[in-house]
Point group: none
Chain length 194, copies 4
DNA sequence: AATGAATGAGTCTTCATTCAT
DNA sequence: GATGAATGAAGACTCATTCAT
């Protein structure tokens, strides 16, 4: 009964997932549409039923991935907890997301440092902006953090977490709760109001 | 007498500079050899006298740029100062380098997040490794920093400084000494042994 | 009771009309089946219920359009009039048809100058051949015209009328009876037995 | 010594000639760049050293061909002859050009009836406009012709000559001087001031 | 009869690289 | 050393056609 819907989503999702994997592995340039199609088990032309161009595909994948990151960050959000606890939760969630979704992390980093990000600054996750960035803003307003522009805060946090995740992943280490806390502590100590 | 040498260097340098600019502006994919040649005022074939392939060109540009970064970081190094003072000097120098060489920063970030970095991990600046990373290691050994792996420390610091430089550059703000100190303070507070 | 038939015809006609318009506007190459379907308000696959292939569609459209031209030319045919009067009537009718059906004219000209005409010489309007060309033949046999092969006469007449219609249409001029007579006079003076 | 020039021209000319032939045989759509390259004995990419795109190639071929037509028409031009004699000479030259260069004629007719002509009305032979059309204008001004707009006169003449040439060519007849004169007479009788 | 998602061969075009001069 | 015309493999994308529903 909802087969149609499933099929629709499954092809589209397969294409997005295939793109994520190939871009992570070989970069934007090294991920030809033909390969993306092959890995998604669809014909090359099929991609163009779902996406206008390779550019569109990449940009939509970025938004989807950032949405997923935002969802992961917001998981288990508990208003009753203290700001610091909630902040730690955010960081741990983000770190875990990177560890569990290496391709997502690598893709996001590539995207952010590519001309795409400059050319389509308006194409971004609404969820991330409205929930995650807003939460950071609240931390600044509530004087938990140093008086830093939130547009500086975000990338600073991301930079450290990505660095940590990359390190752990490259070392093939099993990450423990202590690992995570240690990294988050770096972030926190850096930006908290002393 | 060394005109020939100068010419040799000037063409080579022109090609590297042209590549840096074009990669910064359009990404690896958007910087064809023909354009690189045109911007360097040389013929397309000439590039192949200095570099085996586009890949080689990019990798050598990476090493040169990282060398330049290392040199900038080490500028005014004064053994007689305290470790903390020297660390702050390192950070300020790096930050200034990014501000003054946006294309270098953008190129480095693109490179680090591209498959190149993964495929040629051994191709890197010797100067950077032997002086800069070694200095961080000393900070860990000397218990100035938290007990963090130096391979984590480097990217963490870079992440924050790049975030800050990007922010300043995108805002077209004139950066002041306070700006710099504020950012370096974030880094320092994050990693210093509490 | 003949609703079905009407529907059948209406879809078929819609497809033919859509093709005529798009070919006129963008040429054979610029009229993809998907666009033809969209403009005809049918699904892409539906076209293949009525026509075997795009080639068939074009050829059948040619025959239909030439049939329509023949019908227009023969309108008000009056055996009792003199040959010259009937000839003028033919010309005026043809000229008017072009003016009122620009897409038909453009399509016919494109078709005649395309490989289609060469590859399917037998695919043509029976009505046109049996009535219009036969009438010209009668003019030759009856010694009203110079002694020209009828296969030369047809295109010669067409050439002048199309030139005139194109000129009028591109000038966005309101054509008058005198205009028409003037053009027909050129044709007549050219071919009539002096 | 002028080998370079020859080579340059020879490749460019080979590409244009190859295009002319293939477009004549298979139409615009049926002449892929790969085939054009193959028939010209060059690599596919080479075409793009001489022409920006397929569109440019076609348009430049049109201008070149129309230039050649104009040159052929103007051959043996003799100011001392009467206007009528010179007009007949023009017509005979044009007719002969069509007979001897069937592909040029077919290409020109295809082009004129394609969207190209509509989209690039300014791209045309200067020689043709300044010499041939000007000569027709002189005929109107000198009252040799009926009072017709020159923009109507040109296509009218072309229409008849092309019709005649096509007929002769399709009949594989050897054309004689009488043939030509007969056709030109049709043109002349049609447009001359009675 | 009608749909439109899916196909994949084929198209134009780009671009790293070569090589004769 | 230097040139830049030439190459041709590979890429993004189109589109006539099919077929399950």
């Amino acid at each position: 009964m909802n087969v149609q819907l499933n099929n629709f989503n499954s092809k589209r999702e397969a294409i997005l997932n295939s793109t994520l994997l190939l871009v992570k592995e070989y970069g934007f340039h090294g991920a030809p549409m033909s390969q993306i199609a092959k890995h998604a088990n669809v014909a090359a032309g099929t991609i163009y039923h779902y996406f206008d161009s390779k550019e569109t595909l990449i940009v939509e994948l970025y938004i989807r991935t950032k949405d997923q990151l935002a969802e992961a960050i917001l998981e288990g959000y508990d208003e009753s907890k203290s700001y610091k606890d909630r902040f730690f939760r955010f960081m741990i969630n983000q770190y875990n997301f990177y560890i569990k979704n290496e391709s997502a992390m690598v893709f996001l980093e590539q995207y952010i440092n590519s001309p795409f990000a400059k050319n389509f600054p308006e194409k971004d996750s609404v969820l991330f902006k409205e929930k995650v960035i807003a939460f950071f803003q609240a931390g600044i307003d509530g004087e938990y953090f140093k008086k830093i522009d939130p547009r500086l805060l975000g990338p600073t946090i991301r930079g450290t977490l990505v660095a940590a995740a990359n390190f752990r992943l490259s070392e093939h280490m099993i990450y423990s709760e202590e690992d995570i806390t240690e990294v988050v502590q770096i972030v926190w100590d850096g930006i908290k109001r002393q």
